[in-house]
């Protein structure tokens, strides 16, 4: 009983290592957003006016894109656990497309900011904006590249219902990007 309990703790979905990464990342971004909120209280007008320069509608579309990517990846893991690696690779490919769509839209948002001279040192609001969303952008880029590897391996039949830990770990990393974005979207784009 105690042995089973210990085993269950040491083997969360995707493995304990990815969960340590997820927790560290969530705590890091939460700390960043907490400092952002403290700064917002110190400079309410500056943060309000800067918030008006954000593209909330683009962020809304990006949120729906990431949520949809999360759904696709959850399905990829689910069908693989049932042994259907062909369907799993199709769901993974769909998730990759959502990752690319997110990166494309976010790049447009960054381009629009830079075009208006709004860079990292524009003001304290945009320093947080660039650092927090920029690090998240890098995470989505890495997650998308990981999924490309998963896609080719799944398609080649390297994973099965008895061997899916790599896919589950990669999906967990992908969902972590989703979770972080949900926090960024609420605090930076909506509640400003």
């Amino acid at each position: 009983m105690i042995e089973n309990n210990k085993k269950a703790f040491l083997y969360p979905p995707g493995g304990i290592l990815i969960w340590i990464i997820i927790l560290v990342e969530l705590i890091t971004f939460a700390a960043g957003l907490t400092i952002f909120s403290i700064q917002r209280n110190a400079n309410p007008e500056l943060f309000y006016e800067s918030g008006q320069l954000l593209l909330q509608n683009v962020a809304l579309i990006n949120t729906i894109i990431l949520i949809t990517g999360g759904y696709f990846m959850a399905m990829a893991v689910s069908v693989l656990k049932k042994g259907d690696y062909k369907k799993s690779s199709s769901w993974t490919l769909a998730a990759i497309v959502t990752g690319l769509a997110f990166l494309l839209l976010k790049s447009y948002e960054y381009y629009q900011k830079l075009e208006h001279g709004i860079s990292l040192d524009y003001n304290s609001f945009f320093t947080f904006y660039w650092l927090l969303t920029g690090f998240h952008y890098l995470h989505v880029l890495i997650a998308t590249l990981i999924l490309v590897g998963v896609y080719f391996n799944t398609k080649a039949g390297k994973y099965s219902q008895d061997n899916f830990l790599d896919v589950e770990s990669s999906a967990a990393f992908w969902h972590m990007c989703d979770l972080i974005w949900l926090l960024l979207f609420a605090i930076i784009y909506l509640l400003n």
Binding site: P13, W19, T34, A74, L191
Partner: protein, 83 residues
């Protein structure tokens, strides 16, 4: 209910909560603390839905579930009081 159906319902709930949060923040005439509370509550539900359903945390050890739930509750409450 099969996984496809549960995941599809979860996705739909996530999209609806996202739209709800967006329109509350952008176009609501409610008082600021109410808007903050509703948007943060919607965010917390979305966070838990992704974690428990998409990340399959519902199958994980109780300690992981408590840790995950504790994180988002502390975060949401902290953000509400910092608003």
């Amino acid at each position: 209910m099969n996984t496809l159906r549960i995941n599809t319902i979860t996705w739909l709930v996530l999209v609806l909560l996202t739209l709800f949060g967006y329109f509350m923040a952008e176009g609501s005439s409610l008082a600021k603390p109410v808007v903050f509370g509703l948007v943060l509550a919607a965010t917390a539900i979305k966070f838990l839905s992704v974690g428990f359903q998409f990340l399959d945390l519902k199958e994980a050890h109780l300690a992981w579930r408590i840790l995950f739930l504790g994180f988002i509750l502390i975060f949401a409450v902290a953000m509400f009081f910092l608003a």
